[in-house]
Amino acid sequence: MTNVLNEWAFIGVFFLLAPLLPSLPIAIAALISPRKPNAIKQATYECGLETVGDTWVQFKVQYYVFGLIFLVFDVEMVFLFPWALAYQQLDFFAFAAGLLFIFLLTDALFYAWGKNALEWS
């Protein structure tokens, strides 16, 4: 039990330190680098043209479609990991069950394919 706790304490400390380590050089740079801001220097850089309108514009619906398909597969993966982990101890039924599960999701992929959801245009 303490061992498991130690493992996760390690991960916890790592999660706190991992963003801090790269922040250190940034902080040092912020301290010793020159600071002379002006309006033109801080303007949005778009190849020298003045920026027109709002940046946070509407974007292609295709990104949402891919996001949704990705979500399906990502959830599938979470269920497949335990299946793969215990696979060698299980009997043939586990293979059939896994096959059925993968088949259902592959079916969804081919459905999306057939509906032209995977076309980028």
């Binding site: 790592f14 040092i28 912020a30 778009e46 940046t55 398909i69 597969f73 982990l85």
Partner: protein, 438 residues
């Protein structure tokens, strides 16, 4: 103006030196306290015996472990910058950095010094907190992977039982950092770059995780240590070459490097999501990328080419570390070679390659591996084979290789059919165009 800013700058330089001195002094004092007590084997109990608070004493080894594991990739990165530039130069028939130090070895340090003195420009419309958080997140996502890397049979950060899922979870923080940077910059090019990232990185995570499932399946373990130990008899690369290839391709895409460098397509989006970053923040994005490429090499070594396995790895752990680094460098160099040789894909081509080729192949491959492993286990049971060494692993390898060949043949026939259909379609289109044109 000049004279007014100078004392201010000296003051800030002074503060920096004081901070560095405090950090350095603290580390030296800590190390002195530990080595002075001369008990590196069981640090926490030893510290408790010397009058430390048990809670703090238990915390010190963890903190030191984290610092050790996390600084190693950061130090390697400094060298990698030189390796990468020299390698790219050689491929492009140039000499590369050769002025600073022997063979230009000190070049990265000179770059760091230069970057430290560069002004940090934040564009006016930027969303400041998110804008500033993005670069450390980028590096952190790669650093966190190293927590589960087994360096030698006895030395690793932590042996998580869910190491594989941990890797998938932590690696996707990089996507988050790219989106944060692109969105918060308030720049249309940066935003477009970030959008492409959503599409690219997120899509290639699927074949990546599908390929990752194969070593988990073969090892019967999700811990990185367990996966490496399971490769004592035979590397998984020989059991599952297709999964190895899939993992390599999709990890190349995850880094966002050529031929998948749409994220920062220089000629289309100037630099993509990191266009508004300058100075050290920009450097952190790049350090994260360099580190990620090598980390992918390390993962390839761990998952498919046996990690620290090699002659006498158990007797001399340092040798195991050496083997791991050799194998990682091998994959790292292949990655650099690919990067410097291939042109960039178009967005639709990248998406087609992933969703219409890599994802179906990875699904088919997973099913085939599961089936063949079941058959191989049945055969081993009936023949009374226990997989312990190279020769006893041969039947299993044979069965799995047959599975790989079947997958290859199916993919070959299927791609051929698709290609013929495509050509027919193009032929028909051309025909109809000329018909209407006349």
């Amino acid at each position: 103006m000049e004279s007014r800013s100078t004392p201010n700058q000296f003051l800030r330089l002074g503060i920096t030196l004081v901070i560095l001195a405090v950090i350095g002094g603290g580390l030296i004092a800590l190390l002195n306290g530990i080595t002075g007590q001369a008990c590196l084997n069981n640090l926490s109990s030893c510290l408790t015996n010397n009058g430390w608070n048990p809670g703090i004493a238990g915390f010190v080894p963890i903190l030191l472990g984290v610092l050790g594991v996390a600084t190693f990739p950061l130090l390697v990165t400094i060298l990698l910058i030189w390796v990468e530039r020299k390698f790219a130069a050689r491929i492009q028939d140039r000499i590369g950095p050769n002025r600073v130090g022997p063979f230009g070895l000190i070049q990265p340090l000179a770059d760091v010094l230069k970057l430290l003195t560069k002004e940090d420009i934040t564009p006016t419309g930027a969303d400041k907190p998110i804008y500033n958080l993005a670069p450390p997140f980028m590096v952190a996502s790669v650093l966190l992977i190293w927590a589960v890397v087994p360096f030698t049979p006895y030395h690793y950060g932590v042996d998580l039982e869910i190491g594989a899922i941990y890797f998938v979870a932590v690696a996707s923080i990089a996507t988050l950092a790219v989106i944060m940077g692109g969105w918060a910059s308030n720049n249309k090019y940066a935003l477009l770059g970030a959008f492409r990232t959503v599409a690219l990185l997120v899509s290639y995570e699927i074949p990546l995780a599908m390929a990752l499932l194969v070593p988990v399946l073969l090892a019967g373990s999700m811990s990185m240590v367990g996966i490496v130990e399971a490769q004592g008899a035979m590397w998984f690369m020989f059991m599952a070459p297709i999964a190895t290839l899939l993992f390599f391709i999709s990890s190349q895409a995850e880094v966002g490097r050529a031929p998948f460098d749409l994220i920062e397509a220089e000629s289309e989006l100037i630099a993509g999501f990191n266009i508004e970053y300058s100075g050290m923040k920009f450097a952190m994005f790049f350090a994260g990328e360099f580190m990620h490429v090598f980390t992918n090499g390390v993962l390839m070594a761990i998952l498919f080419t046996g990690g620290w396995w090699g002659p006498f790895a158990y007797e001399a752990p340092l040798l195991g570390f050496f083997y791991l680094m050799i194998k990682s460098s091998f994959w790292y160099f292949i990655s650099l070679w690919v990067r410097n040789s291939l042109p960039r894909f178009r967005v639709d081509q990248v998406m087609n390659l992933n969703w219409k080729i890599l994802v179906p192949i990875s699904i088919l491959n997973l099913i085939m591996m599961a089936l063949m492993l079941r058959i191989a286990l049945g055969f081993e049971q009936s023949a009374g084979i226990v997989v312990t060494d190279f020769f006893s692993a041969l039947p299993r390898t044979g069965f799995l290789l047959i599975g790989n060949v079947v997958v290859l043949v199916v993919v070959w026939l299927w791609l051929g059919r698709q290609g013929r259909q495509q050509r027919q379609l193009e032929e028909m289109n051309r025909f109809s165009v000329t018909a209407t044109g006349d």
